[in-house]
Amino acid sequence: MTQATSSHRSPVTGTAVASKRRRLFLLDLYSTAVGKKYVMAITGIALMGFVLTHMIGNLKMYLGASELNHYARFLEELFYPIAPHGVALWILRGGLLAMLVLHLHAAYSLTVLNRRARPVKYQSARDFQIATFASRTMRWSGMIALAFITWHLLDLTFGVVNENVGAKDAEGLKDVYGNVVFSLQRVPVAIFYVIANVLLGIHLFHGAWSIFQSLGWNNPRFNKLRRSFATAFAAIIVIGNVSFPVAVLAGVVGN
């Protein structure tokens, strides 16, 4: 049943009905904490989709330099000739950046709201019952992952801290494989890579579960699977991503 408050008829009495000025639907939703959690969840799904695709794509490095470099070429040529060279990829990157910015803005404004909700902290130690390490460190794991993304882009996309970026392979393609090997052979970089991905996994462990609550996807039939899904998703991402620096340092990739 829906609300029966509005009708096509004017009010029975002659009383004027003040029309409440409404904001645009999405802005109206975003103005509340519940709406912001919807934004967190939806952008989270988009970012999870990216992280998974990115990890699967990188598995190509186990098939050799040519395979990975052709895959990189394929991404640049996505939807060619409908879209000019690289355009589809830049549209995807733009969408991804928008998702990241919205995720950060929602997280920031909710954090401000939450700090205001308890200006005086508990003066004795809390004894948490259900909150996990992951749920309580979302801000930190998220911020360190963000710092890693910045480094990662400077390293492998823009080549600011990677001398190999710009080199071509034997087939005249961009030497993405060589860039990865050059980057991860530096031990401090590899260590940062591993730490950031473990933290990303911890972030996903809570985030991938939270999505269901925030979007109101609750059904006794599948509620128990939500935790398993989040654990499996986080584990797959961490195992896949951490394998790359380990493989490069072990010499499995790069020789």
């Binding site: 959690k37 709201l113 004795s124 259900i130 979007l215 109101g216």
Partner: protein, 257 residues
Amino acid sequence: MSNKIKNLTLKIWRQLGPTTKGSFETYKVAEISDEASFLEMLDYLNERLISEGKTAIVFDHDCREGICGTCSLMINGQAHGPQQGGATCQLHMRKFSDGDNIVIEPFRAAAFPIVRDLMVDRSKFDRIIESGGFITAPTGGAPDGNLIAIPKPVSDAAMDSAQCIGCGACVAACPNGAASLFTAAKVAHLNRLPQGQPERFKRVESMVETMDLYFGSCTNHGECQGACPKEISVDVIALLNKDYRKAKFASRKDLAR
């Protein structure tokens, strides 16, 4: 069962008023029976303080049988103390051991200002209820019992959330000071029943927006569920989120008319 006697050290938050600075004070209590309730232990301490000419410790309490939602207290970092599914008044001293240190602090949230010592003002919950936690039933003659047929699973689910006694432990336990579990329980109670349907979306919209004025946001820690004396599940928060989204779509449709 033997009636054991305990000696305890209590660290209790003392604060004269909402704006004054408070601090912990340490009290020793001796010969506390296992069978005493936590509040009786505080009564015992208060009687001693009064007889010594000191001011008694102020704390909230009323029915002392776990149904009114008046008692509160953060005991050793847990709302309503170290027990599941019960309010502070239902906490007994057998949960503690001889020689224990017990830290007692008031519930802390911007929306729950301290009145004095351990007593807090939880009237912001009333603001949320006023904005939609009711049904506008006709107040003529009382309708016949069972006039509206309600499927058993529906009434059970509604009853689960209707158990909320509004004690505020969810807010106190939440690291964000959010009232999502309270609001969601009240919304779920009425939105699951046929009597609540006519105002279903208006209710969730205004209750969520009132909640936003005073409380933090849910980040799905689940601490509220652990602290709730009625063990209300965070599942009701998912229902709140779903109904809020639907309400926003519904009100957009209304505008288009």
